[in-house]
Symmetry: C2
Subunit: 136 residues, 2 copies
Amino acid sequence: MVLKAARKPALGGQECDMSGWDGGNCPVRDVIDRIAGKWSTLLLEALSRRPYRFGELRRLVPDISQRMLTQTLRDLQRDGYVEREVFPTKPPSVEYRMTDLGRSLFEPLSKVLQWAEKNHPSVKAARAKYDESELA
Amino acid sequence: MVLKAARKPALGGQECDMSGWDGGNCPVRDVIDRIAGKWSTLLLEALSRRPYRFGELRRLVPDISQRMLTQTLRDLQRDGYVEREVFPTKPPSVEYRMTDLGRSLFEPLSKVLQWAEKNHPSVKAARAKYDESELA
DNA sequence: GAACGTTAGTCTCAAAAAGAGACTAGCGCT
DNA sequence: AGCGCTAGTCTCTTTTTGAGACTAACGTTC
């Protein structure tokens, strides 16, 4: 795991150069920062199941604003994770579907979601413990 | 994968109830929204390698503000991913180390980071293609 | 012995991002 | 003729983030 565009570590595998990080020059950050948003994961999860239209996604995730839905979909499209297809009906309908690149990303990503589901109780417990010790 | 606190799906495994999502009642979102930040992943990656002190982390990630470093570390600590230990020297030094829960989260998470590193070229290519078709 | 650097933050103010909701256009339905 | 449907965009307000000064007590330097 190399986090900066960097020379190979002396001894292989798990080495990771973190010295001299700058946001603009780190490939991992370049990719991660885009999918790390609150909504990206959610939309990728949805689109991993089947294609959806704009309005369907909006109804699916009731607390996203139209503005952020548009913007997040554009970002995902730009990075090659989803495709946008316009059907020239009147009014036009637009379908978003996951690409192969998107699927290949979602494979490891879904493991994190599964972790989250499984370990939610532990996290809630940790929060409770922290909050209790804080107000003391 | 159940994304809402929901009844078991009729046929097991890959089923996922996304109807009637509300942010506050979805365990996966509850967990993901906290680690989805721009800085969380970065700090988890660092702390997965070894414990670090506050100032070390600040130097390691030069473009994080002290404010966000404090806040992100507190969030990670609250959710049980990192521990904070104060050494009563003068001036006091504070060490942050990853917990077992944090390590168990970082296992799938690191797969996503590896994906990002590996597929950075594809993503950059997709961006270039998108940007080109946009300005046309 | 006075000035400076060190520590891990907090505080304030400015800038950027996100949320809420009105508004668009063209067609079908009643 | 008026209403609703579509996928957005535009504007305004609120929230989040960033930049940087400030703290306090000690060690080192001049």
